[in-house]
Symmetry: C2
Subunit: 134 residues, 2 copies
DNA sequence: TTGCCACCTGGAGTGCGCTCCAGGTCAAGG
DNA sequence: CCTTGACCTGGAGCGCACTCCAGGTGGCAA
């Protein structure tokens, strides 16, 4: 099975070496295999898990929740329903976040358009005056 | 013109009193009018600006950038092109964020589905084994 | 006039998620 | 062998965006 040095993993995942060590220290990664000399050797399972971590992190899951998920994963197949529940909960949160982002982005677009109208008219015409303020 | 007490503004906007004072202190709000006794009295313009701040904050703009935008707004109509540029830049960032969130959410959905398939099969059948790992 | 509560100020503290550092170890190339 | 650079550990430090606090003031209601 393929193994990877810390710097290879950093390159592949975008996590820094410090972050990788940090995640391991707090228990987000489980113990990583070592060489006889004590150097970490990551394998494909580790990379897979790191991908999951990255996905959850990038969607805004706090580390505490990821730790909970990691713990469930470590505790065998009986926890799968709980894992599903956790992910569904998170999925709903992400859904809301996306929706909120979309509405806020619309506001930004409106504002940009408002500025464009203002500059084209060289002043604030009534047609445009009731747009977003300031 | 309608005016509002700090707690009314907090209720309307969702910002805490401390956050309102903090934003004022760092220059994100400009000086808020005061009563003779020194109490803040916010007006509708302030609320409008706070709405903008909220929109930018919720879409992930760092305070430093909002300060820059606030400064442009204070410096008259000549800065409107710069404001547009800043907002367009931000808009693009938000766009990317939404796109990334969507792809990551897809991964989460896949993972949930994968867990469902696993539990239904009571083990990992080959049909499902090449899905997302761990 | 006296409570009382909302509000004021400046400054210190908090939580999160890393990031940096000092001082040491391991292993491959020359 | 010796150098060199990637890696090790434990712990301290950082940047952001607030949040809390102590000690004091304003103004309305009873």
């Amino acid at each position: 099975m393929a193994t990877y040095t810390p710097s290879q993993v950093a390159a592949k995942t975008g996590f820094s070496l410090d972050t990788l060590r940090y995640y391991e220290r707090i228990g987000l990664l489980g113990d990583i295999a070592r060489t006889s000399g004590g150097r970490r050797t990551y394998d494909d399972d580790d990379l897979g898990w790191l991908g999951m971590v990255q996905c959850l992190r990038d969607t805004g899951m706090p580390i505490a929740d990821m730790l909970r998920f990691a713990e469930l994963c470590r505790n065998g197949d009986d926890t799968i329903p709980e894992r599903i529940a956790l992910l569904e909960q998170h999925d709903a949160t992400v859904q809301e976040k996306i929706a909120h982002l979309n509405t806020q982005q619309q506001r930004i677009s409106n504002k940009i358009q408002w500025y464009r109208d203002v500059t084209r008219a060289d002043d604030v015409p009534s047609k445009v005056a009731d747009s977003a303020p300031v």
